[in-house]
Amino acid sequence: MPRLPLHCSSGTGVISPFSKAIRLARYGCTNRPFYHIVVIDVKKGERKPPIEQVGVYDPIPNMHNEKLVSFNFERIQHWIAKGAQVSTPVADLLGLAGFLPVHPRTYMRAWRNRRTVEKCS
């Protein structure tokens, strides 16, 4: 049987003494990724119960060609102040949102895209 998550996706609120990470948890289905931005123990699996959900990320562009993302900045700030690590994709998104400095990966992606466009044209 599929290991269906039986926990609350918005977070259990159970805080362990281990180091935390703010990272993505995949909640989509096949060929349709959808992510929750969650605070969870660094060593816990993707599908394990998170401590808290601090945002949502939909990587597939919608009808207006937008990739939607939402953050709970207050809670993210709280967790970063507590020493939570921020994973690279989340740091990337937060950089684009203007909360953190723009991540180098964003720049890299941008110049790579530019190069492919130049090549194609």
Partner: protein, 237 residues
């Protein structure tokens, strides 16, 4: 290959359908699949189990290493260095903010604030209570009046009922008194007997369709005809 991960029944079904652990995912079965079970739900989830070796087609595959040009490498290094510096200072800043927020919590101040808040809330509560008390008084007065009216009406109805009952009983008593003249008592029982003996009324009569009276006789004459006897016997039975 160890298959102790699967239950006995699942292994059995796997053997019957002739599939292995790899192809099980595409058949809609899973570890907890039980044949003839009343409720099974099959959702595509299964991936290659971790204990299976590298696929035969992938054994000699060598993944390509990405080639990063020197310019990009230098640029990325610079960017990452900047980013890391920025992040350290940012983290320090956020921690400082948190610390400041933490030190701001003073017990006496908090207590005073809570007290003030409580007073304000209490005042509002009292106001609401007074307002509601007025409404309640009006409502209760109305309710009392209504109840009084209902009780009075019920009393009135009861009295009317009693009066009606009295009248009815009086009528009955009158009727019985009027009738009581014709009653046979111990005093006039002899006269009544005598009258009965003198005026014998014979009820043993019958009227036919044409209006002729047939006087009956007592004791009744038994039927002599033989043809009707068995019928009479049958009727008796």
């Amino acid at each position: 290959m160890t298959i102790s991960f699967y239950s006995f029944r699942t292994i059995q079904t796997m053997r019957i359908i002739n599939i292995n652990a790899l192809t099980m995912g595409t058949t809609g079965l899973c570890e907890t699949f039980i044949p003839n079970s009343v409720y099974t739900q099959c959702i595509r989830w299964k991936r290659k189990p971790i204990w299976l070796p590298t696929a035969k087609s992938k054994v000699f595959r060598v993944p390509k290493k990405p080639v990063i040009p020197m310019e990009d490498y230098v640029e990325l290094k610079r960017l990452y260095n900047n980013y890391r510096t920025y992040m350290t200072s940012f983290n320090a800043y956020i921690r400082q903010i948190a610390k400041e927020n933490k030190t701001q919590v003073n017990e006496t101040v908090v207590n005073e604030l809570t007290e003030e808040d409580f007073k304000a809330c209490n005042a509002i509560n009292d106001e609401w209570n007074a307002k509601i008390a007025k409404i309640r008084e009006i409502r209760l007065a109305e309710m009392r009046e209504k109840r009084k009216n209902i009780i009075l009406q019920s009393i009135l109805k009861q009295e009317q009922k009693q009066e009606k009952r009295k009248i009815r009983i009086n009528e009955l008593v009158k009727k019985v008194k009027e009738e009581s003249i014709t009653f046979i008592t111990a005093e006039n029982v002899d006269a009544a007997i005598e009258e009965c003996l003198t005026n014998i009324v014979n009820h043993n009569r019958a009227l036919d369709v044409e209006g002729n009276w047939h006087e009956g006789k007592y004791p009744p004459i038994p039927l002599v005809e033989e043809t009707q006897e068995p019928a009479a016997i049958e009727q008796q039975n």
